[in-house]
């Protein structure tokens, strides 16, 4: 029965060669795409070079004058717009998401939890154009007719507040998804120990669960922050797109991603414009990169590393 195997020595060699070849080529393959990040940064950086010959970096970042046709590219209004919108979104999303995650993990009956988790997935799947449309149909009129008058301000509704609310909803699934995983990973023994000492459930959550889960939750928030910072279409549709530094929540703003998306048409007709827009893209990329790295560091450095890196 064993004899026929021995005729295949040659065959054996081919198999092993195949394996070696696969190993080498897959390695090269992986290396190329592992380096993709640096490639993107490098390409964008090289293409933004022309604008640096015209304006200094602080000038680009802190000037408020945006007159592309005169060759003046001050990014401050856009940076401010991005910061405002992201800030508002996080201020809304963080408490709501934390409360929801805690409810889902600690209090909600299992049936309800199973019902809600696919709903959160649906929320994550809705395309951003659809969020944008909904924002225009629901949030913008709401701000124009109810929220702004409440503060005695008249607003068109296309505002930071609108952008912030839409963005907040868009990052709900990001925060909830990770927070739930993190909260679930808090050992039951730890909670039992606290309960056994006479703490109420809420005290246990406040002092034990939250403390233990904090790094993971911070990471989730930072991740959501970077997602919000780069979101384009939905924000662009509701935020008004006026290149001025906003003064209140009900002012329009013009975040960086919207700037890039709105001006693709003129990009090549005005000198330096493409370089300026790619500078905006690079800026966006570096900020998001920074947030991402921080968040992954927290996740991989803490006990949650197993969740991400096995």
């Amino acid at each position: 029965m064993t004899r026929f195997f021995q005729q295949f020595l040659n065959f054996e060699k081919i198999r092993i060669l195949k394996d070696r070849f696969a190993e080498k080529s897959l390695f090269v393959f992986m290396l190329i795409f592992g380096l993709a990040l640096f490639l993107i940064i490098l390409v964008l950086f090289l293409r933004t070079h022309p604008i640096h010959t015209m304006m200094t970096l602080p000038n680009l970042l802190f000037s408020t004058v945006w007159k592309p046709s005169k060759g003046l590219f001050g990014f401050l209004p856009f940076i401010a717009g991005s910061l405002w919108v992201t800030g508002v979104a996080m201020a809304i999303a963080i408490p709501i998401c934390l409360l929801t995650s805690l409810y889902l993990v600690e209090y909600a009956p299992a049936k309800l939890r199973e019902l809600i988790s696919p709903l959160i997935d649906i929320l994550a799947g809705i395309p951003s154009v659809v969020y944008g449309i909904w924002g225009v149909l629901a949030i913008v009129p709401f701000i124009k007719n109810y929220l702004a008058p409440l503060f005695g301000i008249s607003s068109t509704g296309y505002s930071i507040a609108a952008g912030g609310i839409v963005l907040a909803i868009m990052v709900f699934p990001v925060i909830i998804h990770i927070s739930v995983e993190i909260l679930k990973a808090v050992p039951k023994d730890m909670k039992d120990a606290s309960l056994a000492l006479g703490a109420t459930k809420w005290q246990t959550i406040k002092h034990v669960v939250m403390k233990r889960a904090m790094p993971g939750i911070v990471a989730a928030i930072v991740l959501a922050l970077s997602r919000a910072f780069g979101e384009t279409i939905a924000v662009l549709m509701v935020v008004g797109n006026v290149a001025r530094i906003p003064k209140s929540l009900f002012d329009p703003a013009y975040p960086l991603p919207a700037l890039i998306a709105n001006n693709y048409g003129e990009m090549l007709s005005i000198p330096m414009y493409d370089s300026a827009l790619l500078f905006a893209a690079l800026l966006l990329l570096l900020v998001v990169l920074y947030f991402n790295i921080i968040s992954r560091m927290i996740l991989s450095g803490s006990k949650w590393s197993s969740y991400y890196y096995g």
């Binding site: 198999r15 384009t232 990329l285």
Partner: protein, 283 residues
Amino acid sequence: MDKRSLEENFFKFLMIASTALIVAVLSMILLTIIIKGLPHLSWAMFTQTPKTCYYLGKEGGILNSILGSLYLTGGATILAFLLSLPITLYLNVYAKKGSKLAYFTRFTFDVLWGIPSIVYGAFGFTLMLVLGLKCSLLAGMLTVAFLILPIMTRSMDEVIRMVPQPLMDASYALGATRFETAFKVVVRQSLPGISTAVLIAFGRGIGDAASLIFTAGFTDSLPTSLFSPVATLPLTIFFQFSSPIPAVQGRAYAAALILTIIILSISIISRLMTKKFTRHIVR
């Protein structure tokens, strides 16, 4: 009632309120799209391309963008799959445990995942200039492939990593090479997860607009060549929605409904597939 339980009840109330708020918001979004979109949905939308004066409210459909989106995202998904499967297999079968390089690659893909799609769009556009490519199906495909590559790779990686080491050892013990083990055992074992990863990536790609603004262009005709511009659903929605004419806006709602339905069905299919494909799986 003492202070402790007062506080607990207060927060419990807030928690329930937040959860209810999220569910309410989701239902509102879906309801808005359905109520606004359903009346404008017609058979013509699926069967016709935009006719003359379509954007002034005359007849026609959006077959061009439905097909365009499917072609573009389908192509991008296939491309991304051809890249991410080998990468994931390398990470899990060839790379040594605790390898610095594997850690670094995973980290990079996580970060790539977080990069906004508008940046991919800008990057794709820059590459197009370098390569001398115009706005086209091909350019859009490449950009979206780049966009969904990290999503697909990391989701696949999470699944393939779950393949038990003893199962791989069993294959090695029969004299299989790592290559054979990777493609005959590891891939089969994680097939449901792999297909879910592919579908997730497809869903993400088909809904994305920002990466396509610069790269795919727009056209009223059906996609015919890799090198001509192509219409896509998200951009169709975006452009028609900015129109002042109600009939055109109405079509934007209908198109949004179509896109949402496509994406939701993909997520449902992927759930069902997970159930169906587990026949051979060893747990």
